[in-house]
Amino acid sequence: MKQKLEQALRRVQKPARYTGGEVNSVKKDINAVNVRFAFCFPDIYEVGMSHLGMKILYSMLNEIEDVWCERVFSPWLDFEEQMRQKDIKLYGLESGQPIKVFDFIAFTLMYEMSYTGVLNMLDLAGVPLRTEQRSESDPIIIFGGPCACNPEPMAPFADLICLGEGEEVLCEVVDLYRRFKVERATKKAFLQAAASIEGIYVPSFYDVSYNDDLTVKAVVPTQSNAPARVKKRIIKQIDSAYFPEKFVLPFIEIVHDRVVLEIFRGCARGCRFCQAGFIYRPMREKSEEMLNKQARMLCNTTGYDEISVSSLSTSDYSALESLLNNLLEWTEAEKINLSLPSLRIDNFPRELMEKINSVRRSSLTFAPEAGTQRLRDVINKNITEEEILNTCLLAFEGGWTSVKLYFMISLPTETMEDIEGIATLAQKVVDTFYHMPNKPKGKAVNVNVSVSTFVPKAITPFQWESQDTMQAIEDKQKYLRSLIKSHKISLSSHKSHRSFLEAVFARGDRQLAQVIEEAFKLGCRLDSWDEFFDFKKWLLAFENVGIDPAFYANRRRDYEEIMPWDHLDYGVNKTFLKSESEKAHLNSVTQNCFDSCAGCGAGSLEGGCPLCRQ
């Protein structure tokens, strides 16, 4: 085995992706361990190792004495070929042992395009894909992560699914399992008991029926322990929630190769297109003191020279200036850089701004998302043209000459006028630069317009909307391109193929499991990588199983329709989402949670909402 692996490693790029042994990785004595847990990320090492959720849960599980949690990532194609050729089974990086012998194999579902990656990893591990094909001796397969809010397309492959934040619920699952292992109880008995843990969804205990028009008729539990609606879990006291003192330190460079400091969970903004803005509610902040302590600890244990602050909207942290000042007190002396993504720089003190790495180095980024005020009101993106132009002016006066603007197309109610608005706004930014009385001589401005395609997602006010057809999206992209006349503006847009598939799976039902399985069998994997994404294979997969993807992506749903995920309770309720949807169609905005409570329902979760005290 060792010889085979060594040979394989000599034949691939970046072999250190597959060798483990990193500083701060956890080694345990197999004989002293009761529960073996494989934490799988269905993308390559560099992506998976950057994921904060995995770092938290990895360290947390390993703090339990008799649990050994190991990391597993998807191989790049070169190593997969070697594994299949030499019959090397997917193994945990810490022990090097095949994960097929583990007690649990857990996957985090980060995005829809990683679904074939999950199947590929199960296959490489030698574990049958579907729950009903697996035996008593196979590990228990767990899914979690953001896509668990509508896991239905992947449901037939999971034994159990964790809804919401995993810190507490995973420990409860492990505790339960330990008891059942001693009693040598069946997997079914274990799952029955697990189904009564709050936040645990056992998909095989639910029967899905369909109407003649293929929409979902009902999702009904078939076991007495399985609740009719499964409620997601959240951490009540975020300040006392488990946070690792160490990050595993990779040898190779990963995507986010730095200390990541999570300043709060959830978001108070309520942008109607943004799934993260709803499924992570309510917003819960960590205290400055705790963050300062955690940042210092992580710098000491990793030797990283950069800290990145992480959240959905950095500027919304209540004590941001004071937090940064506290951090700067020691980071400057220790030559550690701070970076703050998604920072709104208007109203932000200039002196502080200049000390911050991300602002100092790179170009400025704004996400107006839509080209006209009307459409920005529809999506509830509370940013005005005046604010955008003022901030740009501020930045230009500070010496920046490059601005990046993010937009989406195919938003609900969008017309060609809104597309024109994108070009107009970009031009106004260019004009702002040239109208500066003291503009720097000999310098040109560069406005980078990046346009992505809107994907309607579950548990958002836009969950009933249709996505434009790929043809319509292409027409809009072409039209926008024709409107951009200035050489100072560069436009980047992408083929909408992947957004189309995301739209299918983000609101898909269990029928789609066949498509994912078929696509995997046709060779689809690592679909988020341009090197591997093969849209034709996906279309063939739909054709082979006789499912029309347009039914999922391009169909507007009635408010009365039963959604495939309606039996999953994320706090935010359907009545609220419906009223938000209706307001969107009236171009009417909703205030953020700081200004006034819109009654989203997240306060019904354990611990309530700290912003509105509901």
Partner: protein
């Protein structure tokens, strides 16, 4: 400011770490250790460390050198102790000293190269490789910045100590490893693959020593 030279081993799975990765790994280890490292001055200060010789990925070594500068003084034993605590499995700090020779003085490296073959006896291996050694020249192509060039490695193979086992040969050789002339020990298995019927399954390279042009151990 105090200049230090750290001698270390790079063994086991750290053979899969590239030179660039090793650099990052060491900078972070030093940062964690609390050793008062000297930083380059300027807009973007970074820790000043250099490696005397790059080691190819997949190779192990008993004899690597890293040079650094410290802000202020610290006893060598203390530096060794603090650094040792921060090393990943496979990297072992041997010694911390002041640098006595210049990095440019390095002229030769000693290697132990073990090459495995499938299902073949020691006798047959001996026979086939001896036959190759009787060739007038053993030419290997090397690609560098100036393009592809031919090199004759016969001299090095002849001077090497070769041991034969069933399914394995072990070559102990000294090769030039100066900036002007540098031979990668994987040229041996390349030559075997080129000039005999043998097909190497896997090779393991271990650097065992580094010398100046007088063949004195590098310090």
């Amino acid at each position: 400011m105090q200049a230090i030279r750290v001698k270390f081993k790079k063994l086991g799975r750290t053979r899969y770490i590239s030179h660039l990765d090793l650099n990052r790994c060491m900078s972070r280890a030093i940062k964690r250790s609390g050793i008062p490292l000297w930083y380059t001055q300027g807009f973007n200060p970074h820790p000043y460390i250099t490696f005397v010789q790059a080691l190819s990925i997949f190779s192990e070594s008993e004899c690597e050198f890293m040079d650094a500068k410290l802000e202020g003084e610290m006893p060598f034993e203390k530096v060794k102790e603090l650094l040792s605590k921060q090393m990943p499995e496979g990297i072992i700090i041997e010694e911390v000293t002041e640098p006595l020779m210049r990095a440019a003085d390095v002229a030769f490296s000693a290697y132990t190269v073990s090459i495995d073959f499938k299902d073949i006896s020691a006798e047959l291996l001996n026979e086939m490789i001896s036959k190759m050694l009787k060739m007038e020249k053993i030419i290997i192509q090397k690609t560098n910045k100036r393009g592809i060039r031919d090199y004759d490695i016969k001299e090095y193979l002849q001077n090497a100590n070769i041991e034969y086992f069933d399914g394995r040969i072990i070559i102990k050789a000294v090769l030039p490893s100066s900036p002007q002339e540098n031979f990668n020990p994987s040229c041996f298995s390349a030559a075997i693959e080129l000039y005999t019927e043998l097909k190497p399954e896997i090779e393991n390279i271990l650097r065992t020593g580094v010398f100046n042009k007088e063949h004195e151990p590098f310090r």
